[in-house]
């Protein structure tokens, strides 16, 4: 089967009739994984890889944060350039190794099931993208270890970093083409775009946002490659600004792009775990789309004018930052109706989803503090006012951005935790440990919040983002740097617990009973679903197809089914 084909007749990598766990099927071999054409096998691969690199990124970020607490003497990295390398490696792994691939993984697994497709669009392409990403991200780590990356001293390995990260981004782009094509072109009959489940819609907005934004990262990596290769950035100090290559996806408001799928998963989880699907389906879809457009769209068109520096003195950027808060707030408000009227069951997907939404909202709201200074400047300049501020709000080069990054990363990790727990039974045929999941969620929420608060306060105190050796720490900032480090440590713990929980489920522990059921099409399949997902489907007539008359379960089937499940009332 060619990369451009989308047949669902491949048996490679799928043990028909098995529970789908990683170890309990004798038919699952290494060869089957390499040649996988089943989106469920490919999705599991992406998921496992992403959680591993999320953990790696968190550990490196923890080391960088610890280094940040004592600027008098760099203990692990030799100098400012070495610190930039460490800091940048953590960021590359968190974003391109952990968070984006985690949402890609969930989308590859869940989207075809939710939209009633027999397969992912271009499943071999998605598999090829996984292997390209895996090799690329390993090469990124190798290049850093050998003196590459921003601030790297080895020209060859800085060039290698640019090329490897470029391949990683291209692989993610190709996976996003597969996801978006599935939502746009492989929906079952009757499932119009406004009937697409919220999670799949969120993945569509995420993928389209990626297709708009990530090519700019590739373009910058091409330029970095050429600049370094041809000697325009001759030494490690001149290469420190290369950390800005990923600014378009790591600074607000472009950073909120990572919050779109997290928020969508949160809404989906709230609907299922309160037993009340979100009533305002279309407005929620519109708001998620708006968040994608406002957050990334505005940032994209202002990025070139930033001159590779963080600056809030841009009217469109300020407007985008302000406007980004509204869709997050409104989406949570609409989802709140389900919380108010439904039965509140404090399971991991619901708790993690809610915390994710709240952290995203707090990140977007906190970013508004950064626009006070340019607004005051604008008023003073244009309206003859004489406003003055007691504290410096010029936060451009400070850890203020680290704080916002921490909050949004926390929100994205929580979104991933919510999604993995929500669909764990569909993915592995086993539920994840809910108590461990709740602990993981609290660790991630605490980590994101503490990282964020520490960074933001240190930023107001004047702590610079990428310091030099021996640089004076502003009064009080050292303690805040310590607080940030504690936050990153908590987030690292959350990634570790998540990996342990997945390991338990993938190796066959955990409940085999379907723990809950929603009203979207993935819940109409066994867990894990068979090779082609569905034999055939009735025409979908609403956004909650399993409540449609054509899908209604006869009482006899419900009785048989409910006898083995946790609670019959939890069924749709």
């Amino acid at each position: 089967m060619a990369l451009t084909e989308t047949r669902h007749d491949s048996t490679a990598g799928h043990a028909e009739g098995s529970p789908g766990g990683l170890s309990d099927s004798p038919l699952v071999t290494l060869d089957a994984y390499f040649g996988a054409g089943d989106h469920k096998v490919v999705g599991r691969l992406w998921l496992l890889g992403s959680v591993l690199f999320l953990l790696a990124g968190a550990v490196i970020s923890l080391v960088a944060a610890a280094e940040h607490t004592d600027l008098g003497a760099f203990t692990i990295s030799d100098d400012a350039a070495g610190f930039a390398q460490l800091w940048s490696l953590g960021r590359d792994l968190l974003i391109f190794g952990g968070l984006i691939p985690m949402f890609v993984a969930l989308a590859i697994y869940v989207v075809p099931l939710q939209v009633g497709s027999f397969s992912l669009a271009f499943p071999r392409g998605a598999a090829a993208a996984f292997w390209t990403w895996l090799v690329g991200i390993i090469l990124v780590i190798v290049s850093y270890a050998a003196g590459g990356g921003p601030g790297g001293w080895s020209t060859d390995h800085v060039v290698m970093w640019a090329a490897a990260l470029g391949f990683v981004v291209l692989a993610l782009l190709w996976a996003m083409v597969c996801i978006a094509s599935t939502v746009l072109g492989a929906r079952t009959a009757g499932m119009d775009l406004d009937r697409v489940p919220v999670a799949s819609w969120g993945f569509l907005v995420f993928s389209l946002g990626g297709l708009f934004s990530l090519p700019l990262v590739v373009a910058q990596l091409v330029l970095a490659y050429l600049d370094v290769k041809h000697g325009f950035l001759p030494d490690e100090t001149s290469r420190i600004p290369l950390v800005g290559v990923t600014d378009s996806v790591s600074l607000a408001p472009g950073l909120y792009w990572l919050g779109v799928p997290a928020l969508a998963i949160a809404v989906e989880a709230i609907g299922v775990h309160t037993g009340r699907p979100v009533r305002f389906h279309r407005p929620v879809l519109a708001l998620l789309g708006l968040l994608g457009v406002v957050a990334y769209g505005a940032d994209m068109f202002t990025f070139a004018s930033r001159g590779r520096q963080i600056a809030f003195d841009n009217g469109l950027l300020v407007a985008a930052l302000i406007a980004s808060v509204l869709p997050v707030l409104a989406t949570l408000g609409l989802a709140g109706d389900s919380l108010r009227t439904g039965a509140l069951r404090l399971r991991t997907p619901l708790v993690a989803g809610l915390l994710s939404g709240l952290l995203l909202l707090s990140g977007a709201a906190a970013a508004l503090l950064g626009v006070i200074w340019p607004i005051v400047g604008f008023l003073n300049k244009n309206f003859d006012t004489d406003l003055s501020l007691d504290v410096s709000l010029d936060l451009a080069a400070t850890t203020f951005h680290e704080g916002i990054f921490g909050l949004i990363v926390g929100a994205a990790v929580l979104g991933g935790i919510a999604g993995i727990h929500h669909w764990a039974h569909k993915i592995w045929g086993r539920s994840l440990d809910d108590r461990l999941g709740l602990t993981t969620s609290l660790a991630a929420a605490g980590g994101g919040l503490v990282w964020g608060v520490g960074g933001i306060i240190a930023g107001f105190l004047g702590q610079v983002r990428l310091p030099n050796v021996g640089e004076t720490i502003p009064d009080g900032a050292e303690a805040m740097n310590g607080v940030s480090t504690a936050g990153v440590a908590l987030l690292t713990l959350a990634a570790l617990l998540l990996l342990a929980n997945i390991g338990k489920a993938a190796t066959g522990s955990g409940s085999a009973n379907e723990p809950w059921q929603g009203l979207s099409l993935e819940w109409a399949t066994p867990s894990p679903p068979p090779l082609s997902n569905f034999a055939a489907l009735p025409v979908v007539r609403s956004a909650t197809p399993l409540a449609d008359p054509e899908f209604l379960i006869p009482a006899s089937a419900v009785a048989t089914d409910a006898a083995t499940t946790a609670s019959p009332t939890e069924h749709a």
């Binding site: 451009t4 989308t6 009633g116 669009a121 271009f122 782009l173 996003m176 083409v177 597969c178 978006a180 094509s181 599935t182 746009l184 072109g185 079952t188 009959a189 009757g190 389209l208 297709l211 708009f212 934004s213 990530l214 090519p215 700019l216 590739v218 373009a219 910058q220 091409v222 330029l223 050429l226 600049d227 041809h230 325009f232 070139a304 004018s305 001159g307 009973n513 379907e514 819940w523 109409a524 399949t525 066994p526 867990s527 569905f534 055939a536 489907l537 009735p538 025409v539 979908v540 399993l546 054509e550 899908f551 209604l552 379960i553 006869p554 089937a557 089914d561 083995t564 499940t565 749709a572």
Partner: protein, 203 residues
Amino acid sequence: MTDITPFDAIPDQAPLAPRSKPRLLLIGTSLVSLAVTMGFAGLVGFYLSSRADVLRTGEPWPPKGVEVPLTQPNMMMFTLVFSAATMAWALQAMRNDDRPNFHIAAGLSLFLGFAFLAQTAYLLTIMELEVAASPRAPLIYAVIGTHMVLQVAAMAYLAGMALRAFGGEYSAKDLEGVYGVAMFWYTTVGLYLVLWYAIYITK
């Protein structure tokens, strides 16, 4: 959990959804074209921004001694515009189930694509712009080189689809692959027009 699912229990009289063939290749190509356009626009944007910085300082651009000719870029533009016409011919031929004409038109498009690449390679040899001469020089080569890569990708795509058509695939009722390759081809032609204006005309 038993294997009984809501789906298993669907009443016999429920109308099943028709299994239509989705136009995934066309949608996928559109998305790839979008991503390619964004990346290319980013590169051109960086070039224009960088060029504006140089002009703001009062320095000349292009640097003294560097000649960016216009004859070859114009010829290249006409070549690609012709190739867009032959691609439209190929699409129309397949719409009419006229395979001989499709193969001629696809072959001509490929030939014009090769001609474009050859002219670009020649242009690069006569531009005499040293890569190490200025930080902007790699930018010019990045933009031109990226477009060459895209053109090669479009030609490979066309060659693949033409081979499939040669093997009997595609017809007036199944044009998806031909539509897809035509869309990508037109995208590369459009991007060259941007490049032609931004680099060769305005320098």
